[in-house]
């Protein structure tokens, strides 16, 4: 289980952003630890962990919404670039995508799950999962100016 820690954290960050990802990661592995003895020996552990992470990410989002106190109708400021000089532009562009697109990209491209598994996790059809990922990638090509997306409409 330990070897999937990094992948699950990347997935949680892509879906939730860095601030809430740690909570989702912890809840995911705690739940996995509790359920592990009932997991069939031949199960795909990574797909199972991403499935739990998906549910925990939803829980974390709901909890955050309950905690949020509406002060004024002001949009969130864009997250500041990290002080350690990391490239957060792609993470920011990802964070701006609709949730379904973020989930499809995270589960398919970061966790490496086939679209059939992605659809089983998010609900909906395999085609819908494939389209959500493709729409998200198309949007990233527009919003992420990084040179590493060569086929996009780079500025």
């Amino acid at each position: 289980m330990a070897e999937h820690g990094a992948t699950v954290l990347r997935v949680c960050r892509a879906v939730l952003g860095p601030a809430d990802a740690d909570d989702a990661w912890s809840e995911t592995f705690l739940a996995a630890l509790k359920a592990y003895p009932r997991l069939p020996a031949d199960a795909n552990v990574e797909a199972w962990l991403v499935t739990i992470a998906h549910r925990k990410a939803i829980d974390v989002t709901r909890a955050a919404a309950r905690r949020a106190v509406p002060v004024a109708d002001v949009p969130e400021p864009p997250p500041a670039g990290q002080a350690d000089g990391r490239d957060t532009e792609l993470a920011d562009a990802l964070a701006a995508l609709p949730r379904r697109q973020r989930e499809a990209i995270a589960y398919h491209y970061l966790a490496g799950l086939p679209y059939q598994d992605v659809a089983a996790i998010t609900g909906g059809s395999t085609d819908a999962a494939r389209r959500a990922a493709a729409d998200g990638i198309a949007r990233l090509r527009k919003t992420y100016p990084g040179a590493a997306l060569p086929d996009g409409e780079n500025s």
Partner: protein, 217 residues
Amino acid sequence: MTMNHEPDLRHALPAVTEAELAALRDRLPAVTEAELAALRDRLAARADAEGVLDVAYRTLDTPVGTLLLAATEAGLVRVAYPVEGHDQVLQALAARVSPRMLNAPRRLDPAAREIDEYFAGRRRTFDLPLDFRLSGGFRRTVLSHLPDIGYGHTASYAAVAAAAGRPRAFRAVGTACATNPLPVVVPCHRVIRSDGSLSGYAGGPAAKQALLTLEAA
């Protein structure tokens, strides 16, 4: 069910290039080992508090190699030498004790400290709760008598068999020592042949000799 039009959809959607995939994987902020270690520590503490950490383990560098230490809530359950294959030992623990297992050093702090003190020559007996669940029957009886052989002393297999109440069972004593789940802490290294030769040891003959030399100093 969706197989029929999947190929069409694949062509209709823009392909994701290798470079884009690499960007997704590499340009997102990296998950550092320090971040993961901090998360694992917090997880271990919570799992322990909620009673779902059945086996905690860590490694410890010693003069006889890197030892794997594992503990249940009852106590130290396994000490393993590198030659035993730490991964195999962990798999066996998952199968025989519980798969609820984490690299969680805190539970092993007392054991690590005492073993460090032992190798530094500052400790002669171990004062740790031990979980003997990996050893049963006569083997367990034998192991329970091994701490009676004092630091710096040795005993023959026959002598240990006699102490364990079955004087003729010296072969079984050999088996009990060879399968000792808690080497170093339960001193099977102090059991040698009647002619003084060392015979086998889970950590290899060099490790057995090193422990006896340490204790003779």
